[in-house]
C-alpha cells in the first residue's frame, strides 16, 4: 500500500513538473475553453433569462469538451516522446500509474475549470462562485477523468485518437453530464442540499464505481 502510494505520487509529481515547465496542455486547454465560452455567446442571445435557462448546459458542454482535449494528451504525450514504454517498464503496479495519471489529469482540469469561473461571470453574468457548484465541479471532474484516463490510454495507441476518445468517453459519462447539469441548475437557482444533494451523491457513486473499474481494467488496456 505504501509503495503503491509512493509510485502514484511519483508519477503525479513527474506529470506536474512537466506541466509546470512546458505549460503545454494547460495553456492549450484553457485557450480552447475560453474560445468555446466565447462562441457560445453568439450561439444564443446572452440575456439574463436565457442564460438562467441554458447556463448550466453551456458550462458543462465547455467543461466536457476541454476535458476531452486535455485527456487526449495524457497518454499521447508519453507515446509521442516514446516515454510510455519506460513508464510501463518501471517496476511499479499499473494501478499506481493509473492513479498518478488520474490525479494529474484531474488537477489540470480542475485548475482550468476554476479559471473559467470569472470568464463565465464576465461573458454571461453567470455567477459560479457557489460552494455547491464547487463541489459538483470536483465530483464530476473526478468522474470524467476516471473514465477518460482509461480511454485515453486506449486512444493513444490508435491512429484515430482524436475521434476515438470522445466516441468511447461520452456515452459512458452521460450520467455524470446529466447529473452535473441538473445539479448546477439547482445550485444556481439557490437550492441547497435539498436540490443538489441527490445528484451529488449520484455523481460520487458513479466516481467510486468507475475508479475501481478503471484501475482494474487499466492492466488489460496497456498490456502488449
Amino acid at each position: 500500500m505504501k509503495s503503491y502510494l509512493r509510485s502514484a505520487v511519483a508519477v503525479y509529481a513527474k506529470d506536474m513538473r512537466l506541466e509546470a515547465r512546458t505549460k503545454e496542455t494547460f495553456s492549450a486547454v484553457l485557450a480552447f475553453a475560453v474560445i468555446v465560452a466565447f462562441v457560445f455567446g453568439f450561439a444564443f442571445d446572452p440575456s439574463p433569462t436565457v442564460v438562467a435557462l441554458v447556463g448550466p448546459g453551456i458550462v458543462w458542454v465547455a467543461y466536457v469538451f476541454t476535458g476531452i482535449l486535455g485527456m487526449n494528451r495524457t497518454f499521447a504525450v508519453e507515446r509521442d516522446r516514446g516515454t510510455l514504454e519506460g513508464l510501463l517498464l518501471a517496476p511499479v503496479g499499473r494501478e499506481a500509474i493509473y492513479a498518478g495519471k488520474l490525479a494529474s489529469t484531474t488537477t489540470i482540469m480542475l485548475v482550468v475549470e476554476v479559471l473559467l469561473y470569472p470568464v463565465f461571470l464576465v461573458l454571461f453574468e453567470l455567477n459560479l462562485f457557489n460552494i455547491w457548484f464547487v463541489l459538483i465541479t470536483i465530483a464530476a471532474t473526478v468522474g470524467f477523468s476516471a473514465v477518460g484516463t482509461l480511454f485515453s490510454a486506449i486512444a493513444a495507441h490508435t491512429r484515430a485518437r482524436e475521434i476515438l476518445l470522445p466516441l468511447l468517453f461520452l456515452p459512458i459519462v452521460l450520467p455524470v453530464i446529466i447529473g452535473a447539469v441538473a445539479s448546477t441548475s439547482a445550485a444556481l437557482a439557490g437550492d441547497g442540499w435539498g436540490g443538489v444533494g441527490k445528484w451529488l451523491q449520484f455523481i460520487v457513486a458513479f466516481d467510486l464505481v468507475f475508479l475501481v473499474l478503471s484501475s482494474w481494467a487499466f492492466d488489460f488496456v496497456l498490456e502488449e
Binding site: T158, I172, L174, F220, V221, E224
Partner: protein, 275 residues
Amino acid sequence: MGTAGLGIRQALLGLAAFLFLIDLYLIFQYAPTASEALGLQVQRIFYFHVPSALLGMISFAVAAFASVVYLAKSNSPGHRGAKAATPESRPARFSIMRVAILILFPGVRIWLALRRVEKRQWDRIAWASAEVGTVFFTVAIGTGAIWAKPLWQTWWVWDVNGTLTFMLWLVFIGYLIVRSYAPTVERGSRWAAVVAIFGAAAVPFVYMAADWWEGLHTERITGPGASGSMQSEIFVTFMFSLVTFLVLFIALVAERTAQRGVEESIEELRREVSA
C-alpha cells in the same frame, strides 16, 4: 470451429425464416387493429419495435458477460502461466451425488458446459453479439421514431428507455470502432471487452439519471406497451414476435461467431504460409 455445427446453424436460420413468415401473418392479419389512442394501424410496428429493443438489450448483456469471461480468462501479467497449468479436462469421476446434482440443477450443467468454452470463442461471441445488437438497436430506434411521430407528434421522446437504447447503441458503435482501430486483434479484443464492461456498468446510472431527469422536465408518457391489460390476440402476437426475434438473434450470432472462427483460422494459415 469452422464447419462444426454447420447443420445446426443452417437449421436455425431456416427456422428463423419460417417463424418470420408466420410472424408476419400474425402481425398483419391475426392481430386486431389497435384503438385510436395507440395509433390504429401504426400500432403494428410495436411487434417489431419492442422485440428488437429487448433483443438489443439482451445482446448487450451477452456481449458484456462474454467480455467479462474473456478478460477473466486472459492471463493478466501477474499470474501468467499459473492459469495455463490448470488442467481443463480432468476425467470426470462418476458418483451418485454428481449425477443427482447434474439432473436436479440444469444450471450446473450449463455452467460446466460454459466452462469448457475457450477464451477466443468468448471474444467471438461478444463481437458477434455486439454486431447483431447494433442492428437490433438501429431497428428499435428507427421504428420507435416512426411510431412516436403519429402518436405523440414528435420523432423522439427523451424517456428512460429511449435514452438507454440510444446510449447503448453509441457504446456498441464505439465497441466496433475500437476493434477496427486496434493495432492487433488481441488488443482490439481486450479494449472492446473493457468498453462493453464499462457500458454495462454505466447502465444503472444512465437509467437513474434519465428517470430523474424525465421527472424534472417532462410529464411522463406511459408507452402503450406498458398499459395494464393486453388483449389476448395482441399478447399472443407479441410473444410470438419475441420468440421469432430471439431465434433470429441466436441464428445470426451463431453464424457470425462461426465466421470469425473461420476468419481467424484463415489468418493463421496465411501467416504460416508466409513464414
